[in-house]
Symmetry: D3
Subunit: 335 residues, 6 copies
């Protein structure tokens, strides 16, 4: 199975040893992005993956492409143009101290400035079996929106299932009304096969109304039910985070054939970021393997739980590791 | 509000990655000290802070002053003289393995060798609203004792409240009788507005007698009550550490208007040192803002709990972070 | 008391900051090996220790010898020959993610290629009070087997107690039948005073039959009882690992005068490897001090628990630290 | 003497050990900028320095301000707004391999987006004796141009000498004609007391014509002579780089009372960037001390030569070091 | 143009900061090998490159493949089997102190143990335009020899030019007579289009006799002349190193149409290893572009000179950089 | 041959990458000292070496002893007492920028505070063939002076040749007259077999008068001649440093049978410190091997030249390396 993702590539800068930015003059960097994270993980699971993006035409862009190849992702649909790449600093939290992410400008990036016409969309769609788009591209600017919508339309035209990740962040939408953004999302949702999101995406962005007096899971189920009918989407999937007794936990939900919830797994938090992309990768892998929904959910949550224990955003998990965790064959040492 | 602290500046050397000293040839260093820690934290909270100290007149002293400025502390009352700065190695513990601190000589330091007459005490007191002194200066030698006592007297003269931190360590007193040291402490205690200490400072140094058959908190309350009457101090504040079920915890107490105890908070232990100074900073900030005592206590304990999750002695917490923790608005990720 | 250990020296390569090998171009290295680990720990406890081994005759071997001296082990019975040293990569786990060890070739090592006749066995035995052999040497090849057996025979001849560590790993035996390997182990077991092992060593390698319907500890006791009668071994000692409620634990057992089990201690897992060698060091130290068996067990388990909190394989614990933990005088900070 | 500089603050990212960006995942960062470099150097020389700039209102901006204080620069005229800071990667060259600088976007920076009206220009000018402006601010956008011109006008109004650094980089001017840019420069040049530049600034930007058949130094002298008459500038200063026999060298020139050239000094190249700012700092320091022009030139060139031997852009030289080099009292070791 | 190289992949371990192995516990590692180095360089020059090799089937092998992809080399002809990869330590020299390379065992490697029949030789040859083989494979063992000879024969069969690198190291031949090794080399030389070597390869391995009283270059020319006639090779190319007046230099020679020698270039020595592979890459690139031989030589030597200034074995040079150096357009800073 | 040295052990802290102390929060540390440096080097040359010293009785002292063992020095005459060890910061120079050494207090060290009676002087002298004392011990305080003089007297008593290193630093003598210090030196000089020093030690400390109008080497020869007669010393040895044409050089001199000067060798300066100790080690090694004086000189200078190319104070050179350099068999790469 071959997967194409259209997504922005970013640089993540992390001070070492849980230090704050002002405590050191050292950083590690990592090449990241929702598409990058997801495709790396699917490559590890054995799928063939390709990234559709634009990188700056300088040594930063070349370095990013080199790392993308290193992750096992094909680079033949990476274009080089412009001179900027979005970046962010991650000051890793510890215990009750939260991880703090500080973004530098991303609208000036090669990705945001790329001409939609410059992408070989039809060719890229034809080469692949599955198309993935991250909702951030609907928020950034006209160019990324147009590219995303063209790609979604083309996926439908050639009968390739579209996986769409809501990733709705109101703070990124500084130029338009919420109504405008909702409209963009609705265009793409109507073309999607599987959508990753939460309850607030449904209620706050799409204005779906749920009975707020119901328990949370029933509200969620109700919201999804309305959503699926309205936009004719096959699957709606997402996660719930918990924090009780000083301990983090994670559970997944999925509404495909029916609404299901995974077991709730405790989370060991080494690196807070990227688990959502790992969850999505688990879902995609399970769906393309036609696993039972229960198995898909447990696999995806186990994958996300493991992703929390890996340094950096990119979830370098393998099939064997995820299955061992999922099946309770847990070890503290593998020789 | 402007705060002045008279205190020693030290160099802390820490091997990376929880290694023991003998396991590596690498160290990180940090400029620390009770005054430095406290003032940095108060600067982060928005106060104007000044350190009164003496640093060696060489590149080590210049580097220390540079870091003190970096922390947001004014350096115009730092003098340069001599050639030595006290230092210590911190081998960070993990789980049941304790953190081990090994001090190098501090009596030869520029701070300990500085002539009391060299400090512009009156000028420094006049410029500030609050004066802070650490008890270590009563233990080190004649020069630091004299400086501390002159500063305390001057604070009283100009009506600036004196915050005094017991920090009584019998091991540092190698040249005098306990009676001598007690006498020095008594001189300064009678000038203090707010004192930071524990029960042992009262019973072991000041020979205050409490009924040892009472529960710990009642003993503490009894001891403080005697103490406050005897020395006419407005506030006596401190912390209690707990360790149960393999988990560390912290609570604060304060006897101002009345004896109060904060809630007990679990502690995530990244770096064991500096939390006491964070607690003191929280108390000072709360008192200068005339918060209710309950709020002051919760704020100070929350601040100390956060300080445990920050690499190094210096508590780089911000008002927003402390309040978020105090009010239970805890997050694992801030974007 | 003087201890001699015959054992392989390895290089351990560890990526920093819990990173996977492919995430960085940086490593720390450490000189390790069952014998190295055990002797370092016994040196810390005050014993005189000597390693009998062969290192490559190049700068890698010289560096290994330098580190062995640094650990406090005598190097006069280290020979230099050949050009290879076994090595392995350790990708440190975190929480539910296991630590992964990847071995490079060890059969080509100077240790495995060393001529048994090249070792001054008699001289080394005479100089020492206790002889230690790791079972890996029975698995590697003819040369290491022959050396181990000669050393064991010589130890018996001169009345020096032999401590033998099973360390049976079926995966290392690629050239012989299990029966052959069993035969080798039986030769050495009949010469041993104290044996380190588990239940599977007894049932799977030695074909001792136990009633599998009994609770685990009774099976273990039964197996050891048969073992001790058959091979005339004085002590059989080992550990049990537990994992419940997301928490690791460790307990030790010992069958000397009678079968005893230590208390079960929670484990903080900084570095998963080397705790078994720390446990063995604790047992050897306790036995040579003629402590009561209960104390030996508690000491050895406390030592192993501390070893889990130390970076790297080598257990750099001290007597004071272990006793403080054993006696519940636990501190989070030592100044 | 008090100096104010208006200038952009940047982040410099440098891979360690002369590695290329794609060879590592590690970086050191440094807070830099023409103004930052110059003021740090002047602070080291004993002047009081203040930076007028805008930093992002997040942990990146706070960290930058902390480093600026650490350098000894006053931070009370730093504003916090926006979320972006310009950055660049430096891949350090070695021998014949050039150092490569790759800029990320700087137009989106807090500095470029700051409203000219937000700066307390009159107050800042009044507080200081000397005003310094970097020509980059004329190239970036309308806001920085307006701020620079307002500041220059105000300096003139209050009789504070204006030091202006050409720093003309055609590549940064992507939106306007050269004529437009020339016009901006001319506005500020007519207000300047001392200008830092080269021959190409005169011929290519200002269209000053020189006889190209003359030797280089005569062309330079001729160009400066025309320039000084036209714009009524007191001093024109700059440097010439040489490379012969595999060795780099540096010389300075200055046309104040008359055209003078310094001795040519060999250059040891540890870090290629920042030497121009060190040269300018040397000139400013010499002029404010009313040294003879010959001494000013030798001092400035010696300072620039030392700056090449210091890691990073920021020239951390001291008066003693520069004078020792200038006077040939060179040592390889100072104890 | 597409190039295939059959070659071993190694791990290089380098202590940082010119330290000796015993001075630190830190290393950087790099994935290297003659084929890897050459293909990386040719990828940078714009060629499509593929490596034919076998890597261990574990996380070390996976990491190596990831780095090979990062270098821009296709990985579809990399096989995974076995568990060992050859490695070496590089203690970097400085000035008169030589760089010291210490090899660990390589005969046990996945590469050396790979079955010749396992490689898809015909398919790999057909896919490519140029075939490259390193002479080390003739020295290692029967399996690598057989693979190399099969590949060479297949290249001839399909009319793809064979580039062969002598790389004759007598020390690696421990099992056979020199006559045996000579015979193996002769088999492959007779199939080669272009051969990389020196004078000693001709005289010491192939027993070609030259008049030793002639100046060196005439001896070389005479030896090559005999060699080319005997083995019918189109080009014989190599380098000469010089060291005079405390300065290293490099020159290249080539006998294609006629015997030619490049200019002698001074060498800045950051990392001593990999320049030979850079030289070979320059020659291959020049020949495939049908450049004049003079230009090929200058390009290849310039490339090798640049390679000496890059950390690690792998020559990450670009076309632009090499041409700038070759044409004397040298800069110390590129913005 | 067995060598004993009485000397202080220090900690050296070095910021990485030629950074100044204030530019980083990272350091490497190294255990050093004249005795440590010299003995390490002699161990590398194959001699048996022992250090007589006192280290602090804490984890810093234990770490120092571990490193001393690592260097190949016997540790059985190291005592543990007190809590301080002298330390210094080394900011490495580059090119014209000098290396700057900043000492922290050393008088409070365990070494300086050790009771002369606590050392087993007679036993240590008897065990060894050669005794080495560093002149610093005559400058520090009464205790180190007394120990040095007792050791020197004992060496004479048992007929063991005494090697004495002047190391006279007027700045360390802050409590006594020069006359007092001269008297101490004279006591030990009259017991010495071989003395390491320069011309200023003779003229400035010992008040030997030379004709200052003579060329430098003749002054030196004249001074030594007077010195040898007066104090009855067998050998006087030292070095001369040169700096011309931007290049450092080194030459050695020796007056044993007659006054001789070595060839002048260019110096590559990686680390400026420790070369003097390497020179002394070369002399001691040559003398104990009864080499001709010419060979001794060339060997010692070559060793010192190599020491300049090694990171840190400690000269980790080997016999083979020194001889290769001395004999002009210089290589840039050793495989």
């Amino acid at each position: 199975m071959k997967v194409l993702s259209y997504g922005e590539v970013n640089l993540r800068f992390t001070p070492p040893d849980y230090q704050l930015l002002a405590q050191t003059n050292q950083l590690t960097y990592q090449v990241t992005g929702t598409g990058v994270n997801l495709l790396t993980n699917l490559s590890n699971f054995g799928m063939e993956t390709t990234l559709l993006t634009t990188l700056p035409d300088n040594s930063v862009g070349k370095m990013a492409a080199a790392n993308i190849r290193k992750y096992g992702i094909k680079d033949h649909h990476i274009q080089f143009n412009g001179n900027h790449m979005g970046s962010y600093f991650v000051e890793l939290g510890y215990g009750v101290r939260p991880t703090v992410v500080t973004y530098q400008n991303r609208l000036a990036s090669a990705f945001c400035q790329a001409d939609p016409a410059s992408y070989p969309i039809e060719e890229a769609v034809k080469e692949n079996d599955i198309i993935h788009i991250c909702g951030i591209s609907l928020l950034l600017n006209e160019r990324t929106r147009e590219t995303a919508l063209k790609l979604a339309a083309c996926a439908n035209e050639f009968g390739k299932p579209l996986y769409f990740d809501f990733n709705y962040r109101p703070s990124l939408n500084t130029e338009h009304s919420k109504a405008f953004i909702k409209e963009q999302y609705e265009k793409i949702l109507s073309l999607a096969h599987t959508v990753f999101g939460g309850i607030r995406d449904l209620t706050e962005l799409l204005d779906i109304e749920v009975n707020e007096e119901l328990p949370y899971l029933e509200q969620l189920q109700m919201g999804i039910s309305i959503f699926k009918q309205k936009y004719n989407v096959t699957n709606y999937v997402g996660t719930n985070r918990g924090f009780e007794n000083h301990e983090h936990s994670l559970a997944g939900f999925m509404d495909g054939e029916s609404f299901k919830v995974s077991s709730t797994m405790p989370v060991d938090l080494l690196d807070r970021i990227g688990a959502g992309d790992a969850y999505a990768a688990g879902i995609i892998f399970g769906l393309t393997n036609n696993w039972p929904e229960e198995r898909i959910l447990e696999f995806a949550v186990s994958n996300a739980v493991l992703a929390h224990t890996i340094t950096g955003d990119v979830p370098h998990t393998t099939l064997e590791e995820v299955e061992a965790l999922m099946e309770g064959r847990q070890q503290s040492l593998i020789r």
